[in-house]
């Protein structure tokens, strides 16, 4: 990754995000935050609101890219898209009744509002399933979580993982499978 992110073309950026290149993700995250924060602070939000909304928007953009739902049209398309999503999310919050009626804008109100909007947003089954998978993975035991993250998110090979965890490659392979089965079983329980 010798190239600085500023020189990456949009399609390169999309590619890097798709393969979860940590440095690029981080750079993309940190360089686009301030604009959103500025918007939210100017529009009756707090720094906490800004962070929450921005993180939600960031995950949505990432998901869209993963699902090939986003094709950049100009040099700053992705950055603009992230901003737009964050802006829309904040508008939703501002427009929601619970926000308008609440006198103090504390964290509780925000989570409440978020739940409210989530319900409208995610009526389609697919993203509900994704939410469930995310939630279940969150609660998976730490060793499994770590192993699956390294393998599926960081895209490291079993060999690399094996040497990192000081185990045999085949053990890593079996472990990974057992962890997946565990996760699957947990998802199934929630699903029924």
């Amino acid at each position: 990754m010798g190239k600085s992110i500023n020189l990456l073309s949009q399609s390169e950026l999309v590619c890097a995000i798709k393969s979860n290149e940590s440095d690029i993700l981080k750079h993309f995250y940190t360089t686009n935050y301030k604009k959103v924060e500025f918007l939210i602070l100017k529009n009756s939000g707090s720094i906490e609101h800004a962070k929450d909304i921005y993180q939600e928007a960031f995950i949505s953009v990432w998901t869209q890219i993963k699902n090939d739902k986003f094709i950049p049209k100009n040099d700053t398309a992705l950055q603009g898209y992230l901003y737009q999503i964050a802006k829309n999310k904040w508008m939703d919050v501002l427009r929601s009744k619970s926000f308008r009626n609440s006198k103090s804008l504390d964290y509780e109100t925000l989570t409440f509002i978020k739940d409210e909007t989530n319900n409208d947003e995610d009526t389609d089954l697919k993203s509900n399933k994704l939410k469930l998978a995310m939630e279940t993975f969150k609660n998976l035991g730490q060793p499994c979580k770590q192993l699956l993250s390294i393998f599926y998110f960081e895209k490291k090979s079993l060999k690399e993982i094996a040497s990192e965890l000081k185990i045999e490659e085949n053990t890593a392979r079996n472990k990974k499978y057992r962890c997946m089965e565990k996760l699957r079983a947990m998802v199934l329980v929630h699903n029924n």
Binding site: N20, S22, L25, K26, Y29, T30, Y33, K34, E37, L41, I47, K51, Q55, F58, I59, W62, T63, K66, Y81, Q84, I85, N88, M91, D92, R95, K103, S104, K126, K129, L130, L132, A133, M134, E135, T136, F137, K138, L148, S149, Y152, F153, R173, N174, Y177, M180, E181, L183, R184, V187, L188, N191, N192
Partner: protein, 246 residues
């Protein structure tokens, strides 16, 4: 997800290779064929896909706080923040009441907003209605009425469509502007409000903000008017904002 769907280690690894695109052309062909033939298999693959996405999304989510620490913190001047909090409860209410009262007097004594509205309000030109095999016949049929200025007819026709698709942003938008053109501000506002709640990428979003702003302006609600006009990137909206500034 079905309970009975056993996934063996081998199958999991095959699905993984399918998802990350490392199959040979022949393998991919066979795999796709199987997907088409076997519904249950397809569900299994989809479920694994969702799980992998879930793992990735959650891992990313848990990294964001770490990313966040790298951002230099915005220093909000403490006294101002404290003040705002304090003001939130009582003083802002008093101030708002004063502003409303003064604003009200000012509004009723001067028809400035009304003037601005009449100066800047032009009904949306509508969409081109080309003859052709469009499956949106009903929609464009109403558009013809709209363009002829038969707003009531257009509204009635669109209303029927909108009842079937209450979330359709374009329908809500045109219902809004038709009511507005028909000088029926109170009916226009709810439709326009709904149209701006549209998902990302609504093509008339800027116009929707403009007309909603205009509607509020006409209604005398300058604050809401400003808020929506500010969000519109149209020249008209910017011009009105400039005029609204004292």
């Amino acid at each position: 997800m079905k309970d009975n769907s056993e996934i063996s280690q081998e199958l999991l690894e095959i699905i993984e290779r399918y998802i990350n695109g490392s199959m040979t052309i022949q393998e991919l062909k066979d795999f796709n064929q199987l997907l088409e033939l076997d519904k249950e298999f397809k569900t299994k693959v989809k479920d694994v896909e969702t799980m992998l996405k879930g793992i990735e999304a959650q891992t990313l989510k848990e990294q964001l706080d770490e990313f966040h620490e790298a951002i230099p913190q915005t220093i909000i001047k403490k006294p101002i923040r404290g003040k705002v909090r304090f003001l939130n409860f009582s003083k802002i209410a008093v101030a708002a009441a004063l502003v409303l009262a003064i604003g009200g007097i000012w509004f009723f004594s001067s028809p400035k907003n009304e003037k601005l509205y009449t100066n800047y309000f032009k009904p949306d030109p509508g969409l081109p209605t080309t003859m052709g095999s469009t499956n949106n016949f009903a929609f464009y049929d109403a558009m013809v009425n709209y363009k002829h200025g038969d707003y009531n007819i257009a509204i009635d026709k669109w209303k029927v469509l909108q009842e079937k698709k209450p979330e359709n942003d374009t329908l809500n938008y045109f219902l809004g502007v038709a009511h507005l053109a028909n000088k029926n501000i109170n009916d226009a506002i709810p439709f326009l409000e709904r149209s701006i709640e549209a998902e990302d990428g609504f093509i008339f979003l800027d116009e929707a903000y403009l007309y909603l702003g205009l509607a509020y302006l006409k209604e005398g609600n300058v604050e809401l008017a400003k808020k929506h006009l500010d969000l519109s990137e149209t020249d008209t909206a910017k011009a009105i904002i400039a005029k609204l500034k004292p």
